[in-house]
């Protein structure tokens, strides 16, 4: 590769800074509006309906991160470029983090609404169980990676596994839970965009919140990729690894 190999950064700095500024402003606004804004008064939910602004974007972020991860795994299988493997790994890591936050916040929310007064934290509601299975599948991705020492084999096998994992995502989060009786709302139609399921006053907080959390996930992902890239560059004697070497070298 030419000398530009080690100057090729995995991210455009200006884009990153712009997104960072937007995310900080938007999420600060979402927190203030989410706490103080008007919401409909509903039985059982009461003020906990505000959790919508924070719990649901976790899952949107997970979905986006798994798609990004799978995209880079597919690119890795085609090109064998190390950076694709790093990107797939870091996106999967962000997906696991947001999924973990989503499942824990969902547990707390369910404990004091669905299971209020029963002391039950986990009752194998299909939506929750399937989400837990998805997290286990993505946990398996990292176990698999750690089990293989040779970087090329690791990248290739992990990428194939990752493509399998992403296919389970829509089934486990959408299709299967809707075939079973679940307490989780939004079983029919498209709850996020339905005209009747979400009060108009809440949309002005909810949609920016989804975008802001997606942005935050992207920032954390990019940070991890840059760090992984630096680590690679310090390990390789002649600077950063090839961003996109010719296949079958």
């Amino acid at each position: 590769m030419s000398s530009s190999a080690h100057t090729a950064l995995p991210v455009r700095r200006r884009l990153y800074r712009g997104v960072r500024g937007l995310v900080v402003v938007a999420l600060t606004g979402v927190i203030v509006a989410g706490f103080l804004g008007a919401i409909p008064q509903l039985d059982i939910l009461e003020q906990s309906a505000r959790n919508l602004y924070f719990h649901v974007p976790m899952w949107f972020s997970l979905m986006a991160a798994t798609l990004v991860s799978a995209y880079h795994s597919a690119r890795y299988l085609r090109s064998g470029a190390r950076v694709r493997d790093l990107r797939a790994r870091e996106a999967a890591r962000i997906a696991l983090i947001f999924g973990g936050l989503g499942i824990v916040t969902g547990m707390v929310w369910a404990r004091f609404t669905w299971y209020e007064g029963t002391g039950v934290w986990w009752n194998f509601d299909p939506k929750q169980s399937m989400a837990a299975v998805l997290l286990l599948i993505y946990g398996g991705y990292f176990v698999l990676r750690d089990a293989i020492d040779a970087p090329k084999d690791r990248g290739r096998i992990a990428a194939v596994y990752n493509l399998f994992a992403v296919v389970t995502m829509p089934f486990l989060l959408y299709i299967l839970p809707r075939q079973m009786p679940s307490l989780h709302p939004g079983g029919e139609g498209s709850p996020a965009f339905s005209q009747t399921d979400l009060a108009p006053a809440m949309r002005w907080v909810f949609y920016p919140s989804v975008l802001a959390f997606l942005g935050l996930a992207w920032l954390l992902y990019t940070q991890r990729v840059r760090l992984a890239w630096l680590r690679e560059a310090m390990r390789t004697p002649d600077g950063a690894p090839d961003p996109e070497p010719a296949p079958h070298r």
Binding site: S3, H6, T7, I31, F35, L36
Partner: protein, 92 residues
């Protein structure tokens, strides 16, 4: 510590117990009704709406802390990237 005199009709903190005067001076029981006074300034603002503003303040502080970590990590990565760029001589 302020000494709050017990009202005559207020029940003694521990009626069954003999209470010498030397111990009463150390009571922290708030037996006297405080003068009703509208809270002022920060107390008035933070006390509104079931003290939801207190929760908001706590969450915002946490958020500011997390943003600070985000920015500091970015700066460290920036610096490392620049140093790596400089240290590795360009081939060709």
């Amino acid at each position: 510590m302020t000494i709050h005199p017990l009202r005559p009709d207020a029940p003694a903190p521990r009626p069954a117990q003999e209470r010498p005067d030397t111990a009463a001076a150390y009571d922290s029981t708030w037996a006297e009704q405080p003068v009703e006074q509208a809270p002022e300034g920060l107390d008035r603002l933070m006390g509104q709406g079931g003290k939801i503003y207190v929760v908001l303040a706590v969450v915002l502080l946490i958020w500011i802390g997390l943003v600070t970590v985000l920015f500091r990590t970015d700066r460290k990565i920036d610096r490392l990237e620049r140093r790596l760029d400089r240290d590795i001589p360009k081939d060709e």
